[in-house]
Point group: C2
């Protein structure tokens, strides 16, 4: 197996990464200071209005803020941080894990029009609230856990265990694979018709980012890569990923597609990707929406010499 | 708050990242194929000999391999992959989570002499075995979980839940912060005397790698950074981190140290870092051992123009 080396290159323009750039001070010291936290957790403190995991959207659009006074007394409160000096919280509704998940197209219909800064704030809050909803018990001993450190920890309530648990962030590699100027993109069965995107997969225990990229491309497309370069990253709150965007060079062109992962994978020319990004109906593919890092990686790629 | 942009640069030499480079085919399709897995899970299949989480070291040094025939019948078996065509497993000893952890200096005494390729294989196995030991119950409902997919999943046994859980990999940023040619390094109280290392911290829900770097440096040292660049990554099996090594440029020099995290932080000159890496007794600091990515980042930094 090829062992790719760690490498990168200067990204000369700023990528407009969506779900990033939340204008909030996470105020880490507050989390570990129960007195300061209690002081901020007042009825007039700001509460991000959520209906389960989805935002409550006022008629005028944008996120909606209430105060802690309106929170369900049975809800757990998560401290998001300080925004313009004001303490901001989100509530974990009781029984949230038991609710049916809202289908993703519906979620996107609700949040797709949010300004980027609000999308970033919402995404971070959603990841945290969702984690609390799905981690109510101690994975070590099975006892109930209680929220701690303003929602940045859960602690086992069993006196003989007392294990601490932390919000989960799962690193995922997502990669543009290039061969002689062409780009490898694939489609999963769940994609909209004609849509292709970058290959992707979770980083596993015991591998570097570069090794994960090489393994995923080998598994899904049957080709070896070299010169893996980091390009950019994105938090992706469905439910808790850190997308690590990379570029790699393929050592060969003949694909062997893993049909359990991909419905198709193909090499596309620079011109084809260009047409697709421009929304040209003559393009032989549709590319992911701009909120996905895969889209931004394509924009970055076209901007390279 | 400064929003750093995603950027990197060509790393012109290969960094000898420890815990990476395991010579094993993870054979992902096998995990999802119960028949194939059963076929490989024969008494003569290879078993990595562990005593809890630590390797059983034969007199001649190196990892020790037995066969599945010698595994505790009550142990869960984790499929590590194929090595030279042979199926390799590790066992999760019953009651492992209840054992007292072996202190890190003792762990290092045991594994420090392993060749890099064995260290990588051991590190990946340790992460996985440790995860199983500490995740025996469903975080969603509290019921017991059972090993699935050859150890790359645990599934809730409760018929009304059936949640799936996956091995955890926690992304951590670790960064060299530079200001006019000097480097910011800090020390935690637990470090050996005179030792300094790169600042580091977990990536949180809702932030990019670059944002995590900027936040950590702001929190721990009180300074703003820009031009965050990815350099290299490392799996770190104590217990389950993915170290994401970066470089950033400080916008100012005056430090405000977070005493809850750091005992000290200082700017060191290139010459001082050079002396420390060379092991010169006249150096004003000790640097981390070569197995830590912080060491490799320093080597990388000195190799830059």
């Amino acid at each position: 197996m090829t062992r790719p080396e760690a490498s990168g290159e200067i990204v000369t323009h700023r990528l407009p990464i969506v779900f990033a750039g939340a204008r909030i001070d996470r105020a880490d010291p507050v989390r570990s200071d129960p007195a300061r936290l209690a002081e901020l957790m007042q009825p007039h403190a700001r509460l991000l209005r959520l209906d389960g995991l989805e935002p409550v959207l006022p008629a005028g659009g944008g996120l909606s803020w209430g105060t802690l006074a309106e929170a369900d007394p049975a809800a757990e409160l998560v401290f998001l941080g300080l925004r313009d000096g004001e303490a901001c919280f989100a509530a974990v509704a009781p029984g949230l894990a038991g609710r049916a998940a809202v289908p993703m197209p519906e979620v996107w219909r609700m949040i797709g029009a949010l300004p980027d800064e609000e999308l970033a704030l919402y995404g971070g809050a959603r990841m945290l609230v969702d984690w609390h909803a799905r981690h109510r018990f101690c994975a070590r001993c099975g006892a109930p856990t209680v929220l701690a450190k303003g929602g940045w920890q859960r602690s086992c309530a069993a006196s003989e265990c007392r294990a601490d648990h932390f919000p989960r962030v799962d690193p995922v590699t997502i990669m543009l694979v290039e061969h002689e100027g062409d780009l490898l993109l694939g489609r999963q069965p769940r994609f909209p018709p004609r849509s292709y995107s970058a290959l992707a997969g979770f980083v596993e225990p015991g591998e570097t980012v570069e090794e994960a990229v090489a393994r995923e491309v080998q598994e899904e497309a049957g080709i070896a890569v070299t010169e893996v370069r980091y390009v950019a990253s994105q938090p992706w709150p469905f439910p808790s990923s850190l997308m690590i965007g990379c570029h790699a060079r393929a050592l060969s062109r003949q694909l062997t597609i893993d049909a359990t992962e991909l419905e198709d994978a193909r090499w596309f020319t620079r011109r084809e990707v260009e047409l697709a990004l421009a929304g040209d109906p003559a393009a032989p593919l549709l590319v992911p929406p701009r909120r996905a890092i895969a889209h931004q990686l394509l924009v970055w790629w076209l901007a390279q010499d």
